[in-house]
């Protein structure tokens, strides 16, 4: 009986862990003390809905923005800009990346450049539908982590670009990564 309980736990716990929200590791949160400029946005479902009430329906951009966040469960952003290079370590970036190794996550973009620009884009899939996206951009003087939780269609995702003066992102240009693709 004991063996059966352990077996059930060993199967159920990883599934639950995969279902849990992504946490910002404490060592990453501490980077704000060293950063020249920090942006921290933490918006869960109720907060998103409340904030989107203040988006104007008359402004076409804000209207699109409200439609985009309507089905989201949360937006979490941490962006740290440093005076010089080496403001963060690879261990801190790895602490963020390692959370997307659970089931349900698929890396669609993984860029490693010699000059230090490393970008990862992960999609969270539930029943082959988009349920979230994580972007980790590790640049020489900047570390950015974006976690958007909730069902987003690719065209909605593309609508993130094109607004606010940023050129539109073409979802077709994103490479179709294989399941479990790791570098």
């Amino acid at each position: 009986m004991k063996k059966l309980s352990w077996l059930i736990l060993s199967v159920v716990l990883p599934v639950l862990a995969g279902a849990q929200d992504i946490k910002i590791p404490p060592e990453v949160e501490k980077l704000s003390a060293k950063a020249k400029e920090t942006v921290e946005v933490t918006m869960d479902g109720p907060m998103l809905r409340w904030a989107s009430k203040f988006l104007s329906a008359d402004d076409p951009e804000e209207k699109k923005c409200a439609q985009l966040v309507a089905n989201l469960k949360g937006i979490y952003v941490r962006s740290y800009e440093f005076e010089d290079e080496g403001g963060y370590t690879q261990a801190e970036v790895e602490a963020l990346r390692s959370q997307m190794r659970g089931p349900g996550w698929r890396r669609v973009v993984g860029v490693r450049e010699r000059d230090g620009d490393n970008v990862d884009v992960f999609f969270r899939l539930e029943n082959e539908k988009m349920a979230g996206i994580v972007v980790i951009a590790a640049e020489p003087k900047e570390l950015t982590f974006v976690n958007i939780v909730g069902p987003i269609e690719l065209d909605q995702l593309a609508d993130l670009g094109g607004e606010f003066g940023v050129p539109k992102l073409d979802p077709k240009s994103l490479p179709q990564a294989q399941k479990g693709d790791r570098k």
Binding site: L157, F164, L169
Partner: protein
Amino acid sequence: MTVNDDNRMEDALRDALCRREAPEGFAERVLARVEKRSFSRRADLHLGSWLGMFRQPLLRWTALAAVSTALIVGGIEYRQLQREPAEGEVAKQQLILALRIASSKLQLAKSKVQHSQDQNENQEEKE
């Protein structure tokens, strides 16, 4: 005292003590006044019993606490309602900022992928 004086006094007494009919409607007016007085006393007694309830210290303090709580809660709610638009504007700006950052980093990813693809194509052409 003379006999005439006695007669005058006797006449005056007889006149004063003789039976006279009450003016018309006198009885109704008296009854109406009695009724009005008794209603007013009953109302006083009723109000007195309600106010008398607050003579008990426990009830008095409970009522005071209830009124104070209502005032505090009302005040907080009112202040919250006044502050909401300003806080909502801050939240909206935060939301837009978060979307801007997400958008710009996705664009960065896209440009890196594009750049890498272009480099590969150039290399293949050279080969």
